[in-house]
Symmetry: C2
Subunit: 327 residues, 2 copies
């Protein structure tokens, strides 16, 4: 990732309106790496990519200022890293590997250019963690800052869907869960510590290598936890037509969540069960013996009964906040 | 494209906030066709597509309410058709064929569900013109309505870039040009006629089959005209390092553009030279004999001189409005 050279043509206070569309595109493009599979990168009507195998895995996500992030809570580079992470994580959750990303930026004219370039640096750096590069994009003006990301990748084995969980499977989790929700609760009360939670909210740390490992290990269903653990387990339960029972004693509650639970008068399990934004992977496996290293068994799958497909916690419906809704 | 069944669960006045995210996604997904190459469509973490050849062509675009369209000027189905057309046209301009599209909708909570479904119908119908289908998407809340489209496709021959125009080439155009700009000018004055221009603005009619034909015929450079004819010719000139000279007498000015030129006191050529949104193709060919049927030769390419790569009209710099700027 190249830095904008010292003496770049934009004064620190420059806004998007000051510099205009094409200089902005040039500055962004200069930040982005290329890769061997990119035959034509940004700058033409479309990018042209060489695809190594016959399957293309594609996901798209929008992030809206004020709804998915706040510029006063999260530095631009971290917003960029998060915008990339949540999309890369979707490819991970299929058992695939992301290679190529497009980035759309709809932004107010008075947005500082420096914010956009810092955002792009964080975005590109997160993509580089998995070897993906930005191959195209669009910038335009909007009263509301909206970031639109589409990520493409391949998979070497069959993709792991949400619909394959079977009664008798175990359910396992890989990656930290509840930390981002804890950080969000801290920021929401106007605090800045515990710092480790705030950092977890500002920057996700998805287990990018784990998806392909789980696919190779025979995961029967998989999802990344972005809406909330119970909510996303519910997506597997519904798609598979099963009941997923989560055992709350399977979780070791990390100390910072205990601390903010006490400080805010909240059960720390609610961050784990209801929180999103950490992007761990949740998957089902035929038996505990199939579960790869680094994963924790947190529950089991059983057949849907008269009450239908759903998620239980310790055998009972979960009464806490289930997760995020978009409208 | 399936219609939402009569007795669909949404009352005519329902807003996005009334129905929520997942029912909206279900209703949208029900509208979209599938296709043989879509192994996994909307509803999982990512779509999985079978790709027929080793090259993937990708383009992405944003459309923002108030900037790229107005809901009071253009019916929802036409906004959808336009959102699809401008992206499909980018694949066309590479000489490729679009197969798969993702659709992101960031929308105010009080937007009527009916608007979104009509938009999606128009979007899907336009995609169907080239055999492309919607394979994934995202919906979320935003104060500003922003539509984010990414389109993917393949090409059977080498993609045609902007950078291949050579001195001595002829420059040719395929598809109507200036009509949409005329329609926009009409609407901007509060009029509704000539209706044929207003319709052209509301719904583009790109020559989708022409891109691949031009590629097969050996087009040396190609672009779709979305920003304006002089502006987009300028993108070819800059990328190729050449001068493009457009002959204004090559254009037969259509009668409705004469009519509104008279009514508004404007030179009708300004709609042709400066207008965008019609999405004709502009390409260079090694000789007039290479130009396929249905294309009109409108100029020529010569070597850049001391004044650099640029566009001329009748041998002189063009003084009119050159096209669209995004900030």
């Amino acid at each position: 990732m190249a830095a904008v050279p010292p003496g770049a043509p934009f004064p620190p206070s420059a806004t998007l309106a000051d510099i205009g569309e094409f200089p902005l595109i040039d500055a962004l493009t200069a930040l982005f790496d290329t890769a061997e599979h990119v035959l034509v990168g940004p700058g033409d009507d479309a990018a042209v990519l060489r695809i190594r195998n016959g399957h293309l895995v594609v996901s798209t996500d929008l992030m809206v200022e004020g709804r998915h992030f706040r510029r006063d809570w999260v530095p631009a580079e971290d917003v960029g890293a998060r915008a990339a992470a949540q999309n890369l994580s979707d490819i991970n959750a299929m058992g695939g590997t992301a290679t190529s990303v497009t980035l759309g930026i709809a932004a107010p004219a008075d947005l500082p250019v420096a914010w956009v370039l810092d955002f792009a640096r964080g975005f590109a750096a997160e993509c580089a963690k998995v070897g993906a590069v930005v191959v195209g994009g669009d910038v335009t003006r909007s009263e509301t800052l909206v970031l639109a990301v589409t990520v493409m990748g391949g998979c070497t084995v069959s993709p792991v869907l949400r619909s394959g969980a079977q009664p008798g499977d175990v359910v396992a989790l890989c990656g930290r869960q509840g930390w981002a929700a804890g950080g969000l609760a801290v920021l929401g009360r106007g605090f800045r510590s515990p710092r480790v939670l705030v950092e977890a909210y500002r920057r996700a740390d998805p287990p990018y290598a784990a998806g392909q490992v789980a696919a190779d290990a025979g995961a029967t269903a998989m999802i990344d936890v972005s809406d909330g653990l119970v909510a996303d387990a519910g997506h597997i339960a519904t798609a598979s037509g099963v009941v997923i029972d989560i055992r709350s004693d399977a979780f070791e509650i990390p100390e910072p969540l205990h601390a903010i639970g006490s400080a805010l008068g909240a059960d720390p399990m609610q961050f784990i069960l209801g929180g999103g934004d950490d992007h761990p992977l949740l998957a089902s496996f035929g038996s505990a013996a199939d579960v790869p290293k680094g994963w924790t068994v947190i529950g089991s799958v059983r057949a849907a009964d008269d009450d239908g497909a759903r998620v239980l916690v310790d055998g009972a419906p979960y009464a806490g906040p289930a997760g995020w809704t978009h409208f």
